[in-house]
């Protein structure tokens, strides 16, 4: 579904603090599977997720989505692909404080200008799915860590994306909540979503939900384990 060819990514290129986060990554990410990127901090996991999710362009190399090369597209098109194809779950959840859980969930759909009532219904349905229906009007900062993560997951799903990208999703969760997250992941997989996540949490990496673990070190893929 997603094919990466010789992806390289530099930050501060040409400056004294130039840093190469990725050094020639070749990777195929299969549809309807859970792929985990694993590796120590600074290995390039988040950078790779950014590139796959059209948040950043590679310095060189090609990204193909369903056979279409998207690495050279202008920002406007990348944004369009990003919001229609990908849903993001961030490590720090990145919810907007002061807004209710429902408002946060609806955020990615605002620029699409769809039917207002349908959007509200969909947001409520997602919050119900994640057992947050009773908290839909609560400001997100009033929610517990687990609840906040479920709001973040609902937000990632509001535009019904094909691919869900999760960056260190269990980094701030205890074991019980991490297992809960894995069960949500399982249900998403059953719904036919393609999931790409980064984690160095053994609970996630060794979970049966994960179909494939890709290990990264210093921006390289030293090996790939099935």
């Amino acid at each position: 579904m997603i094919k990466l060819t010789n992806i390289r990514k530099a930050y501060n290129q040409g400056q004294h603090n130039e840093f190469w986060a990725l050094n020639g990554i070749d990777l195929d990410i299969e549809a309807n599977k859970v792929t985990a990127l694993s590796g120590p901090s600074g290995s390039g996991k988040s950078t790779l997720l950014s590139i796959v999710g059209c948040m950043a362009r590679p310095t060189s190399g090609r990204v193909q989505l369903a056979g279409r090369d998207i690495s050279g597209l202008p920002e406007r098109f990348l944004t369009d692909i990003r919001r229609s194809t990908f849903g993001f779950i961030f490590q720090q959840y990145n919810l907007i404080k002061g807004l209710s859980a429902r408002d946060n969930v609806m955020l990615p759909a605002y620029p699409l200008g769809g039917d207002w009532r349908a959007l509200h219904e969909r947001a409520d349905m997602l919050l119900d799915t994640f057992k947050l229906g009773h908290r839909c009007h609560a400001p997100v900062e009033w929610l517990s860590g687990g609840e906040q993560q479920r709001v973040a997951i609902a937000r990632a799903l509001i535009n019904d994306p094909l691919v869900v990208i999760a960056d260190e999703p269990t980094a701030n969760l205890d074991t019980v909540l991490s297992r809960e997250f894995l069960s949500i992941l399982e249900s998403l997989k059953q719904q036919g979503k393609t999931i790409l996540l980064s984690s160095h949490d053994s609970l996630v990496v060794e979970s049966s939900v994960v179909d494939r673990v890709v290990r990264l070190r210093d921006g390289h893929l030293p090996e790939a384990a099935e």
Binding site: M55, T79, F90, L107, P111, G113, L119
Partner: protein, 383 residues
């Protein structure tokens, strides 16, 4: 189109939720903003209505007033002077007028004494030893119909008058300080001999000919000063402009303070706001969407403030007689006229005020966002 409307609706909805998060701060801003609009709009509405009122009043005044000058000073019109004017073609009606000022030490105010002439708002018959007074005079001296009042003339002689009536309230703008008496009483009070007048009022058959007639009058009467109605109108205009300017200068300090405050509020992006913009971009908002959202934020705040301020100013001017600016804008030192202006709103003036209040704030909200909005969406991922 439907999508576009849906999108704007969604952005406005988000903006309202976003604004409601900092209720106290935004409400404070709205209040100060509305106050500034209120002050500016009050001055503009009031002076505009006053100018219009003055123009309406002057519509019925004579086209030309002739004053005689001696050594550069206004002097009485001597006998035989009026007859000379009758020979000029185009002059329809000539009338000698009697009026002057009288200082009343009791209330420390100047009154305008006048013998009514035909064709003015004061065209009334007044009996001997009777006066008709303006509403402000009546108020200050506590007078009403049938009361007696005495004035000591400039010759030192005491004159006693009976108040025949008080001029109606709706004419107060021009009659507040007026004391009307018949010509014989006027002459006796000020010691003006018969056949002498204060000045002469002329009406002209064809208003287009006023300037030609004025030129002829200047030739016939080289010692005369001619005052044309159109010039009086222009003078009023400039007086009100000047007063408006004075108030605006006085207000400029507070306007400047607000401008700095609003600019700081609108343009200064907090770390939290920058983070939020990053999140929005990461979850699929375009730079343009962020800018539109900020545009709505600026527009909603400034439009609400504009409407609140303008409506309050309308009430202040047309229902509460501009109570705040009375001393500066109305201009009477002691006898303030009490009157209600006819509500009049000038579209151009509204547009000017709108442009100078709503537009800068909205721009100030958007421009600095631009830099934050063009940051890479992956900043959130890396942060």
């Amino acid at each position: 189109m439907k999508t576009w409307i849906g999108k704007q609706q969604a952005l406005i909805d988000f903006t309202l939720s976003s604004l409601s998060r900092r209720k106290l701060k935004n409400f404070g801003l709205l209040l100060v903003y509305a106050l500034i609009v209120f002050l500016l709009a009050s001055v503009m509405l009031f002076t505009h209505a006053l100018r219009r009122e003055a123009a309406l009043v002057l519509k019925n005044t004579p086209e030309v007033i002739v004053q005689r000058m001696v050594a550069g000073r206004h002097d009485l019109i001597p006998p035989g002077y009026i007859e000379k004017l009758g020979r000029i073609r185009g002059v329809q009606h000539i009338e000698g007028r009697l009026w002057g000022y009288f200082y009343d030490p009791v209330v420390r105010a100047n009154y305008t004494f006048m013998a009514p002439t035909a064709g003015t708002i004061n065209e009334i018959q007044i009996a001997d030893s009777e006066i008709v007074i303006g509403a402000a005079v009546a108020r200050e001296r506590g007078l009403e119909h049938g009361n007696l009042i005495s004035f000591r003339s400039y010759t030192g002689k005491l004159f006693v008058f009976t108040v025949a009536s008080v001029l109606p309230h709706d004419a107060e703008l021009v009659s507040a300080d007026l004391v009307l008496l018949n010509p014989a009483d006027y002459r006796a009070f000020f010691g003006i001999p018969a056949d002498h007048y204060t000045d002469i009022a002329l009406s002209v058959a064809n208003p287009q000919e006023v300037r030609n007639i004025a030129a002829k009058l200047s030739e016939t009467l080289p010692d005369a000063r001619l005052i044309l109605r159109e010039e009086v109108l222009r003078t009023y205009e400039s007086i009100f402009n000047w007063r408006e300017g004075i108030v605006l200068v006085l207000l400029s300090g507070s306007i400047l303070a607000f401008a700095i405050f609003a600019w700081e509020k609108a343009s200064g992006l907090s770390a939290e706001e920058k983070r939020e913009i990053g999140i929005l971009k990461a979850i699929g908002w375009e730079t343009g969407d962020v800018l539109k959202m900020k545009f709505w934020e600026g527009a909603l705040v400034s439009l609400t403030a504009f409407l609140l301020g303008y409506v309050a100013a309308y009430w202040h001017v047309f229902h509460f007689s501009t109570a705040l600016f009375e001393p500066v804008l109305k201009g009477w030192s002691v006898l303030y006229p009490r009157f209600e202006l006819v509500p009049v709103v000038d579209g151009f003036q509204v547009a000017t005020l709108f442009f100078f209040t709503v537009f800068p704030y909205t721009v100030a909200t958007i421009v600095p966002i631009w830099r934050a909005a063009i940051t890479d969406p992956d900043a959130v991922m890396r942060g």
